[in-house]
Every structure is written in C-alpha cells, then in structure tokens.
Symmetry: C2
Subunit: 373 residues, 2 copies
DNA sequence: CCCGTTGCATCTGATTTTCCGATGCAGCGC
DNA sequence: GCGCTGCATCGGAAAATCAGATGCAACGGG
C-alpha cells in the first residue's frame, strides 16, 4: 500500500521537473496499473502455488519466508485480488483469481525464459517441463531423454509421466509446456501435432489355436474371453474396435496394468488388444505372447505432441523436444506418411558433450494443481 | 557485470546458511540464466526501440537518461547480446538480436498487462494498440471508436491507420496486437477472423448510359474506360475480377486515392470497381455516382480481424475490440452468414460514463519499426 | 576546419526497494 | 491443553535504482 503511494509521488515529482514531451494523463492511472508488479512477485507466486506453501516456496527459492509473504501480499493488493486462501496451520489454496493468474504467470515466465534463450543460438539451457503419457513412457522416453541429454546437455529436461486427465490439467495450467501422448481424451482446446499412428494388434498365448496364424479378424475373437487394458482412456478405444464393427467382445478380465494384462494373456486366460509391443515380448513372469495383426479396418491410436498453443508459438526448448520426439518415433519405425517435418529448429545439429548432469529430478515441487501419478 | 557477480555470491551465501531441501546444482547456472533481467529493463528497451533514442525514451518514461542507458546495458550483458547499434550523434538502431527481442518483449509486457487486466472483471483499462486498414478507416472507425469509448471509457485505444505492409510488420513485431483490415496481402502466419464480406460494385456517372440500370455484367464494361483504384493490394484484386473471367479491362486512369477515383468517375471519365460506398455517394467536388451491382460471380473482399495468434490467445482488451468491430460491421449491414460469434467476452454489457478522455493520442512514439502512414 | 550540438556512457551520492532474522499470532492435532 | 505449523509483521541492513553532472565521440553548419 505504501508502495503504490510512494511510486505515484515519485512519478508526479519527476513529471514536474522534467520536460514532458507528451501528456501522459497523470490522473486516472490510479488503480495501480501493472506498472508495479515485478517478475520476482510472479516467480514467488508461482512457487508458492506449486508448493502450496510460502515456507516451502521460500526454501526452494533460497529466500526468507518473509520475502515470499510480503511479495505475494504486495502482488495481491497491486492486483486488487486475493490469490491464496491461507489455511492457518495448513498450506495455501489458490483462489479462482489465483488459478487464473497462475497459468498466465507461468506463461509469462516461460516467455521470458524463451526470450533469453532465443538470443543464444549456440546452446540450449534452462529448464523445460514436459510430460509423457504413462503407458507410452517406457517405450520411448529412455531414447528421447538420451537423445536430448547428449544433444543438449545444458537443458534440464523435466518429464513427468501423467495420465490423460493430468496432462489436460498440466497443459491448461501451464505446469508443463508440451506432452508426448496419445490423442485420446485431450481437451479440444489443446493443440496436437501428429507424430505417428500405432496400429492395434491382438495377442494370445503361444499355445492358443490362433497362435499358428499371423493375422486375425475381430469377429473371430468376439467369443473368446478378452483381457481388457482398463485405463480411463484406452478402455473405450479398445472396446470401440469391436463395437464399431457391431461386435460385442466377451470381457473376462479388466486390469489397469499393462503388464498384468500381458501376463494373464500369456498364461492362457484369453486374448487382448494392445497398441504397444515390448521387444522380445516377454512378460514379467517369463511368459511370451503371440501377436496377431488385426485385419479389420481399425483406426490406429495417434501419438501426438500436445501443447496449449500450436507449434511456432512453442519455446525453442519445446520445439527441440518435439523434434527429438519425432526423430525417436521415426527411428522406432513408426513412420507417419504426412508427418509435418517442416517445423525447423534453429539449433546446430548436436553439441556432443559429457552426458553428466543430465535430467536431474531436483527442485520439483509436489502435486502442483494435479495429482502426481 | 558486477550485477551478475553480486547476485551469484548472494545466492551461494544463502544456500550455505539455509536449509536446502533440494539440490539446485549451484554450478552450471553460470551464464546468467534469466533470473536477473527485470520488467523495467524490458520496458526501457521497448521504449528505446520505439523512439530509436534512449534520451527520448527516458523523457517519455519520466526517468533520467542514465537510467535507460544503464538498464539497457545491463540487459544486454545479462543476455549476452548487443541489442542496439549506437550511432554517435544520431539515434539507435536495432540489431538482429534486438529485433528478435523486441517482439518478444512486447509480447511479455502485453501478457502482463493482460494478466493484471483479467483479474479486474468490472472495468477495462490500460492501453490497446490496434490498427485499421487505411481505406477502411473512414467507414467504420468512427463508430468503433465511439462504441469503445462509451463502453470502456478507461481504455486507451490507440488505433493507427496503416497500409497492408505496415499492418504485416506491425503485427509481427507486436507493435499492435490486432488490426481491422481486408484479407489481402497478409502474411500467412497472421491469424484472421472473418467479420464480413463486402461485394464488388461498379460505379458510373449519373449521365452514363448504364446509369439507367441496377446491375451489370463485367463483360459489358470491358471496353469502357476504367478508373482503377491503384493501391498496392486492391489493385490486383479489382483487376482479377476481370481476368478471372478471361476479360481484360481498359484501364484509362490509375489513382491511389479513393476520392480521386470517385470524382473522376462522377465526371464521366469512365467506370470503376469499388468495395466501399460512402453514404449519399457524393464526391468531394459535389458530383454523384450511380452504382451497379456486378452480376458475375465475384469473390467479395473479406474484412477480418488480424492478429499474431488466434482469438482465445488475444488479450481481453483485444477481444473486446474485436467484438466491437463485429458489432459495428453487423450494424452497418455487412452480415456474414457463418460469422463465429462464439468468442464471448466476459465483460458486462456496458459501463456508460462520461465520454471524456477517450482515445488520447499521446505518448505515441514515432515510426517504430514501420513507416507512419 | 572548427566548434556547437547531439546522444550515449559513466560516476557519485541519495533514495527506494528488497531482504533477512526475529517475533507475533491463529488454528490444528496429539 | 499445549506443542507445532504456517503466515504476517517489524526493524535494521544490504542492494538495486535513480537523478544529476560530467565525459566523450561524432555529426554538421558556417
């Protein structure tokens, strides 16, 4: 409060004593119009929102708790809005205004990071928050991370594995900038860049009668017991493969775990439909699967790069990440016919260096607006 | 330089004496990673770029010239890039890096303004930089400005009238956020929202043989002398009306002024094709025109809201402006069948108030990156 | 060719802001 | 009931920012 007052006085004073080439209408700018409010305030606010605690935020920022407290208090009254609900002996809770500001504040800070970044054409550094759909992670993430850490050793790439819902929320609140995920259950407002389409396949035990064949029609499976991968988004997708043909599968078991499904099938408890196929195709308990191409016309599952705003509006770091994803998926054999490879990234090929401090998992605040997987 | 040094020392010192819940890897964050660099620096930089002078920028900001100088110097070495070329007794010139940063800096500052703005649901205030295509301005701008100033008296709406090229540049450098313009000659990267389509009409003098009729085929005009509105973008458009039918008009006169064309036609020097029609249809020298509907299938000229990123990513101020444009064009009778009216603006209907200090033209720096019209 | 002018950089003292550490205070939970 | 947690507030200290004066280099008119 004394802040706004002091500022205005200073302002007017200088206006009096300097030459004024233009009339800035001293009056009517009264309601503290954004001219105060500093980046520090935004940073502290975002940290506090992520940690749901000023104390923890202060610790993570290496400043005193009082600094965070006063900073946020100043921010609040210069915005004229309450951002947090303070629960006495508990943490903080974002108000509606706080939610609103959080995404924008993250946007702003990311934009500043990117502005700095873009003027250093030689190196990519700083931090990028990204996500990968959980079931996708074990297949591509290791290679993607490896590629990123060798090509850009100075980039702190922070990738979480999240569910579809979590990805939606993380993108809309800007907790992450990009995500590698299936194009299933994403909010319509989210922008996608299609990277690959992975086909559905059926799998049975090695001693199953169908194991002698290489492909199968879905109607041949409709009376077999099915083991369904029962995840929020994939569930409907696999069932739709049948229902879109007018068939109703006989779901015998449902599991939320990919490996549970596979081991059950390997032991002869039925067949399943899946997208991803581990190399070797061993199950955790040593079994193996026989996979069958599905002859029917089945829409494959699309792997996309999802973000709040389309490519081009992405930061340089995010564009580099997207390009690494494209590269990795292509190397994995998932070629997409019309894959738009045009989004060039203005980074020199590679900066081979020690693969030392790559991808540290430090300083990551817990459960910031979404539940950790 | 002493700045980065001091900061780092402080940082390390605190890290030593506080509890460190997370390892932040003190090293390797050496190249001044965006943590310094303030909004003030960005503001001063943008002002200096706009005025092409630190002295003028300082005056317009009511600060000492030394403040701008040191601020920009600090910004430069914390970015590790030179932003300006200093010409000794002349002004400043943006370097390539400076150009790059300018658009982003404007983006950031606008985003901050908007973040502040969005938390004040009752009023719209602050400043919005917009543009209107020159020949469009006299028809709609007065009404748009009137509507804006009565509904949002606290908004400083700064509208320039620009040519197509100038609009392209102003949008890409973020000198303006939105523009009301024809969809002609816009960069592909610019996002458009179609507001209306205005048809082509032909005009002749009142004593012209065709003046007895209400409509005409273009092939009837092909041998008549044509007076062409010869502006960079409209030129090709009007000629294409003929050439797309395989016709070649007989261009007798070319004028860059809308009114010159009209008065020539009214005096019987030929016919013309135009889009806009002033009410009354008087010319400056008192003449009048007879207008003829063109029977042939002619694509109308599209009036659009142009911006760097699509609606939705626009600031609240810009969305309000776009909505006022839609409203004004609709009231003018230019209804567009599929006009997407869905982009709701969360502002209460109107805040009727004194139409006092509306639309001041103060503090506008000259020729910032583009030539003034 | 000289010299006044222009325009940015630099220096110094002063003001303002920000920060730290300590203390206060209000609820939560054992 | 009482220790504990977590944010607010206060006072002194450190740091950044600023204004004004000065320096310096080049442009341009006479």
């Amino acid at each position: 409060m004394q802040r706004a007052g002091n500022f205005t006085e200073t302002h007017a004073k200088h206006a009096d004593r300097r030459l004024d080439p233009i009339d800035r209408r001293e009056v009517s700018v009264r309601p503290s119009s954004s001219r105060d409010l500093s980046l520090t305030q935004l940073r502290y606010f975002v940290a506090a929102a992520e940690w749901e605690s000023m104390t923890d935020a202060a610790a993570s920022l290496y400043v005193a708790q009082s600094a965070v407290s006063t900073s946020i208090a100043n921010l609040e009254d210069s915005l004229g809005a309450q951002l947090f609900i303070r629960r006495r002996a508990k943490g903080l809770l974002l108000t509606a205004s706080g939610q609103e500001l959080l995404a924008r504040a993250r946007d702003i800070l990311a934009a500043i990071d990117d502005a700095v970044d873009v003027l250093r054409p030689d190196t990519i550094s700083g931090r990028l928050e990204a996500a990968c759909f959980s079931t996708l992670a074990p297949f591509y993430l290791p290679e993607i991370l490896h590629g990123m850490s060798t090509r850009f050793p100075d980039l702190e790439l922070q990738i979480r594995d999240l569910s579809a819902d979590e990805i939606n929320e993380a993108i809309s609140t800007r907790a992450i900038e990009v995500a590698l995920t299936y194009d299933l259950g994403l909010d319509p407002s989210i922008v996608r860049e299609r990277l690959a389409t992975v086909p559905v396949y059926a799998a049975v035990a090695l001693d199953h009668p169908l194991a002698a064949r290489g492909e199968v029609h879905l109607h041949e499976l409709v009376d077999e017991p099915m083991v369904l991968l029962d995840l929020p988004v994939s569930r409907d997708y696999f069932l739709r493969a049948f229902t879109s043909l007018g068939l109703t599968p006989t779901v015998r078991h449902r599991f939320g775990s990919f490996e549970a499904v596979r081991s059950m099938v390997a032991r002869g408890h039925g067949f399943t439909l899946l997208n991803q196929k581990p190399v070797g195709d061993y199950t955790y308990d040593g079994g193996r699967l026989h996979t069958l191409r599905v002859i029917d016309e089945c829409p494959g599952m699309e792997i996309v790069i999802a973000s709040a705003s389309g490519p081009g509006a992405l930061s340089r770091k995010a564009r580099v990440f997207a390009e690494q994803c494209r590269r990795t998926l292509r190397a994995a054999g998932h070629v997409l016919e019309g894959a738009e490879d045009g989004v060039a990234v203005d980074v020199p090929g590679a900066v081979p260096s020690a693969v030392s401090g790559a991808v540290p998992a430090d300083g990551v605040p817990p459960a910031a607006g979404y539940v950790a997987a």
